[in-house]
């Protein structure tokens, strides 16, 4: 009897059907808004850090409304670690590529030698590439902090 109830809890989550339905509808819009804030960092307030936190909060919402095991099915720990390191690597990698192509470290106008768009346009593109890296790292770390602090390191039960 208790085994069946336990299985039902794990499958269905712990919050009740109204909350689950609402979260299921809202999560894609939250993620779309986070991507919008990252991409429009040039033209309105926003940028890498702000968009990354909004993207991370979508996964935290999944973790609060459903069971943490169900949320971790969507964003597993391996992908989390790879994205976090990948974001920091994108930032440093852009700087190293600029230095290898003849300019200074993080001098984006040296990227003009690969694809001829003009040095000023490459500065704008360089800022955007770097912000994508920052956004990925911040999203992964926000989610990872929530999982670790909420479950005390075990990642099985969670909040």
């Amino acid at each position: 009897m208790t085994d069946d109830q336990d299985q039902l809890q794990t499958k269905a989550g712990t919050s009740g059907p109204i909350v689950e339905m609402a979260v299921r509808i809202m999560t894609p819009f939250i993620q779309l808004f986070g991507l919008y804030v990252i991409a429009h960092g040039h033209y309105s307030p926003g940028g890498g850090f702000q968009g990354g936190v909004i993207l991370g909060s979508a996964y935290i919402l999944l973790g609060i409304a459903f069971n943490q095991q169900i949320a971790m099915r969507y964003f597993s720990e391996r992908v989390n670690n790879m994205l976090a390191s990948g974001g920091a690597l994108i930032y440093v990698g852009t700087g190293v590529v600029c230095a290898l192509l003849g300019g200074l470290f993080l001098d984006y106008s040296a990227l003009d030698r690969i694809l001829h768009l003009g040095p000023i346009e490459w500065r704008s593109m360089g800022i955007f590439i770097v912000e994508v890296g920052v956004g990925l790292t911040v999203m992964s770390i926000m989610t990872s902090l929530f999982w670790d602090l909420g479950s005390g390191g075990e990642l099985e039960k969670g909040l």
Partner: protein
Amino acid sequence: MDGLMSEIVAKYNYWIYVILMMIGFYAMLAKRNLVKKLFGLNIFQTAIILMFVSAGVKHGAKIPILDKHEVLEHGVNVAQVVNPLPHVLMLTAIVVSVSVTGVALAILQRIYRRYGTLEEDEILEKIKE
């Protein structure tokens, strides 16, 4: 007294943020629970961030997001645009504040598991044993 009043009216934003800083500082010193001390630190950091951002304001100026075509044609009047440097530096400060809070909460969890309590005087007694 008259000089003091005119000073307060001219710089009242600094006075408000100093009072907020002192509230956070008192929480760090005088409370006994470790979580309350941590949130005193958080209040202190927030007050400093707000003070720096308010130091860059100019009267009647707009936010530092300009219109690209207008600036490339006409140029920009510096006194009409708010100083962007404090905003940039405080973005970094906000991220540092988040990181410090995250690491401190992890350390508090391990202290709780080790000693069973989060009150400072009980922990000091258990250490002395």
